[in-house]
Amino acid sequence: MRLTPDQSSRIRRKPRVEFTFDDLPVSGHDGESLMVALMRSGHLHLRDAPEDGGARGAFCCMGLCQECVVRIDGTVVESCRYAVAQGLTVTSLRQKS
């Protein structure tokens, strides 16, 4: 018995679009945050810490911590504040992938 019903089947999302993350094909729903599309596809390790090389990924989910940054068209962007679109080429800030 549950008092909090599972409502996942009642969520309708926009169609999926395709993009790449470190040359791997990834899909996400048009307009959702890049962080979420990557997270759902199992890509949590987005960068390595510059000082000790430790694996890092999304943490604050609201544009403060800068842990989820990735590179698009040569610019470093917060993936939690960047919307997914068809054909994006996204690169991680991992030291070696």
Binding site: R2, Q7, R12, V36, M39, A55, M62
Partner: protein, 473 residues
């Protein structure tokens, strides 16, 4: 686009949006700025455009109502705008606004700051592992994207947020592996007298907990996560019992999961108020350092007003009313008499604040919490500085967070110190045998948010750069 406005409001959550709406009803031009594209703040964060339809929750209903009110009003709402510098001018305030990759200046006769709260997470070994999200951060994920942090999530932290997050994971179809909270059942019982003023919220919380118990999900009261394991993603966590002062004790237990939501209450976001010139004062009951303020959202600086959780953590219901009070105070400053209106709101504000502050009390850190941060634990995420690194700086004489920052760069990285400074201050207090209130708070410097150099440099061609004639050899 934006040059002049009577009143500028920073932050479009329940406080700032209500301040803006109230002021706009008094025939003043009001510009409401927020870094999110749509209004609502963190508590009523709007769904992303990727979601076409989804069941409503109390948060979506309140947020939609607020956004409709703004659409129907004369308030100029500017979303996806980040304030990175605030200056006083002869006639009021200059706000430096980063928007669509460009920096612009907005001049306002009066300024209302409603920057809300951010999350405090006590560092524990492995808290930098991908798959560890802030507890409040996870709510942003649910509200905006309706997406789960993983397949099997451990939820840990203080106050009601831990139960809200667990409940949302279940509503979105995920699995909660365990709930681990430093609070005891007794801590909650002590909040009951303040909670009965909002039977609706009390009932909602009781339902969350009842659902978890019925679902057979373990709730570990008076426990905390002491280690996160996993190389490039969370694999499992260790947790231990806490003593009355929240020091970890006894053997470690383990639970497996691919994600962890971890938080230890909210802190008022005071940087904008500090840049505007306000001093801070310490209030444990309000969540830590808060800007010096007077009644009804006023301050000692003419034309500067504050409201919402950025003035002390009192919750969304209090923030709405506080926003109206601050909006009316700003209107008063610009010439209209709003005293009678404010008199009518004050009692409701204090009533709502009582509930919110009872919830805040559950997150008040006890001294033992700092022991979760072991010597090798990273404290400053940006610079990968461990507790040992920071302790060495403190023992060599750094008596303030600013001194630690100068010596080590802890707090100088991309996050601007937002996730390390509180822990550093508490380490200093412990070392010096004083309280956090005795450690000078961090001094924020612009930019308040990262600013791309291109936004400041503007458009130019290299051929347009003046090149002085070379000096004769």
């Amino acid at each position: 686009m934006m040059q002049n406005t009577d009143i500028a409001v920073i932050g479009a959550g329940p406080a700032g949006a209500n301040a803006a709406l109230t002021a706009a009803r008094h025939s003043l031009s009001v510009t409401l700025l927020d870094e999110q594209p749509t209004a609502g703040g963190q508590v009523w964060r709007a769904k992303s455009t990727a979601i076409l339809d989804a069941p409503n929750t109390p948060e979506t209903v309140a947020g939609s109502r607020l956004r409709q009110e703004i659409d129907d009003s004369l308030v100029t709402h500017i979303g996806a705008a980040r304030i990175w510098q605030i200056e006083r001018s002869e006639k009021g305030w200059n706000l430096y606004v980063l928007r669509q990759g460009r920096s612009e200046v907005l001049h306002a006769r009066a300024l209302i700051i409603a920057t809300g709260a951010r999350e405090f997470v006590q560092p524990a070994p492995g808290w930098t592992t991908p798959g560890v999200l802030g507890l409040a951060g996870a709510t942003a994920l649910f509200k905006q994207e309706m997406t789960l942090p993983g397949k099997r999530t451990i939820v840990s932290g203080t106050g009601p947020l831990v139960f809200f997050v667990a409940s949302e994971i279940r509503r979105l179809g995920g699995e909660v592996a365990a709930i681990i909270t430093p609070n005891s059942r007794g801590d909650w019982l002590r909040c009951l007298p303040a909670m009965v003023s909002r039977p609706d919220l009390l009932l909602r919380g009781a339902r969350w907990i009842a659902d978890l118990i019925l679902g057979g999900i373990p709730i570990w009261w008076r426990h905390a996560v002491t280690r996160v394991e996993g190389q490039t993603q969370v694999a499992s966590i260790e947790f231990r019992k806490l003593t009355a002062d929240w020091s970890p004790t006894g053997p470690a237990r383990r639970v497996e999961g691919d994600s962890l939501c971890l938080g230890n209450g909210l802190l008022p976001a005071t940087e904008a108020a500090q840049l505007a010139g306000l001093w801070l004062e310490y209030s444990l009951q309000l969540g830590g350092w808060v800007p010096c303020q007077v009644a009804d959202g006023g301050t000692d600086i003419g034309g500067l007003f504050l409201c919402g959780d950025g003035t002390g953590i009192r919750g969304a219901a209090a923030a709405e009313i506080h926003g109206r009070l601050a909006g009316l105070s700003a209107v008063q400053h610009l010439g209209a008499d709003t005293r009678a209106e404010r008199d009518r709101l004050r009692a409701a504000f204090h009533r709502a604040a009582r509930f919110g502050m009872a919830m805040t009390s559950l997150g008040i850190p006890r001294p033992g919490l700092l022991r979760l941060t072991t010597d090798e634990t990273i404290v400053c995420r940006c610079e990968s500085l461990s507790r040992t690194d920071i302790a060495a700086e403190i023992s060599s004489g750094a008596g303030s967070t600013n001194a630690v920052k100068s010596g080590l760069r802890a707090g100088m990285g991309p996050c601007g110190g937002k996730f390390c400074q509180t822990t550093v201050a508490r380490m200093i207090a412990e070392t010096e045998g004083c309280t956090e209130a005795d450690v000078p708070p961090p001094t924020p410097r612009p930019p308040l948010r990262p600013v791309p150099v291109a936004a400041l440099a503007g458009d130019f061609r290299y051929s347009e750069l003046p090149i002085p004639k070379p000096a004769p050899l």
